[in-house]
Assembly symmetry: C2
């Protein structure tokens, strides 16, 4: 098999890590397009022999794969503007956008190539551990994406747009919301002149336990014990901060409902 050529649209955190990885695993990243030319040049500096592409007309490109790795709100516009060779494969990397946003593209070979991880430019990524979710409009695209994903990661999943949305919502609960609960906890500690550092060992151990035993098995705390006296005391202490009290009530109720009559 000859080396497949890839063009990257975008120079954000996903493109930043994915493009060099593709170079490493036997693809050849030929072109980078980004609204942010400065970032595009920086990314090109990380690549073997890529060129800066200055517009979205790729009709003359020799690439077989086009990867749109831009923020969710930019995908629609890119999808409307981009022109790729008819037989090429065109994918985006978003967890929340459906495959159909690429439906008006100049190729029938559309798909999604979604690495389920949060990326930061300054932090090295170990792709082999990162689940990659792929979706494809047809068999040729599926095969192309599956080959690429299998070379990058040990965890490759074929899931459709509905399932990917469920996955994304689950990730919002497990990651975005979790992080916000830490923010609330830190705020409470700040208000009492206590250091958030104090909580870190407990957080780390809680997460480790949850991932090892499974979260249902690992649930502890006053709501899990049905300790109404402590729950009441906590709500009384939260009286002066309604939004925290509301969150406390709602999640407590959800825990009580999850473990009834015990």
């Amino acid at each position: 098999m000859s080396t497949l050529q890839v063009s990257l649209i975008g120079s954000g955190n996903v493109a930043w890590h994915l493009a060099p990885e593709l170079d490493n695993i036997g693809y050849f990243v030929r072109e980078v397009y980004s609204r942010n030319t400065k970032n595009a040049r920086k990314l090109i500096g990380r690549l073997y022999q890529a060129e800066l592409k200055k517009d979205l007309d790729f009709s003359e490109s020799t690439s077989q794969i086009f990867i749109v790795a831009v923020s969710d709100d930019a995908i629609d516009e890119i999808a409307r503007e981009i022109v790729v060779p008819e037989a090429s494969v065109l994918v985006h990397t978003s967890g929340s956008k459906s495959m159909e946003v690429l439906g008006y593209a100049s190729t029938p070979n559309i798909g999604v190539f979604y690495p389920l991880q949060t990326f930061s430019k300054d932090k090295k990524v170990h792709f082999q551990d990162i689940p990659i979710c792929i979706e494809a409009e047809n068999r040729h695209t599926r095969k192309t994406l599956k080959n690429m994903a299998d070379r990058i990661s040990e965890s490759v999943y074929q899931i459709n747009s509905d399932s990917r949305q469920a996955l994304h919502i689950a990730a919002v609960f497990a990651c975005n919301f979790t992080n916000h609960l830490f923010t609330i906890a830190k705020d409470m500690l700040d208000n009492n002149h206590l250091d958030f550092e104090m909580l870190k060992p407990l957080i780390v151990e809680t997460i480790n336990k949850s991932l090892a035993l499974g979260p249902q098995q690992a649930q502890t705390g006053p709501a899990r014990r049905g300790d109404l006296e402590v729950l009441d005391k906590h709500l009384k202490a939260l009286e002066t901060h309604k939004s925290y009290a509301d969150i406390y009530k709602l999640i407590t109720q959800s825990i009580l409902d999850t473990y009834p009559n015990e």
Copy 2:
């Protein structure tokens, strides 16, 4: 200083790890009392030379320190029943009970010795990393507890009952509630025949980032971006599960309120 003698009341997870640690760092655990005699005997098997105590009358005991390490709902009863020598120090290990529950004890030297961690019997504990929060009714007790805590841990905090309650509520948010969000995420994935394993790398990276950068700095996701289109889509997808939708709405609103006008 001669070796201080300690009596343990309780044989649960805290006593299970704390008692052998005390033996190791130069205290001498003399007695173990527990409603659960079988567990008490097992714990004694982990100790240098402790004896089983069969009632709560310690008036003849040679111990200088009495540690009540029982579940929150058992503390009040123990506090009413226990008799200790007049000059001895009596503490409990609870995060949510005030020091005053020991107020009717037969010694004025009461306090709290609260290791801020979740313990499991089958998992080794590294006490030096565990924050220990102490509170004391008087100077002698404070000195006794501070000495003991300093020998066990590198993070010792003197905080009063109000602050300890704030700390406990913060821990409920950051740990108990976080774990429940994982349960919800897992349930959503189960409903879509997706494996919770898929989320684990993202969870681990999210937590690492949050603890390294601080949670406010680390916040990501559609609410943080103010991406109303995605938020609407998610709420639509959650329509069939009201309690999840309610939690989604409330935490999303809290994130929107935390990062306004950006």
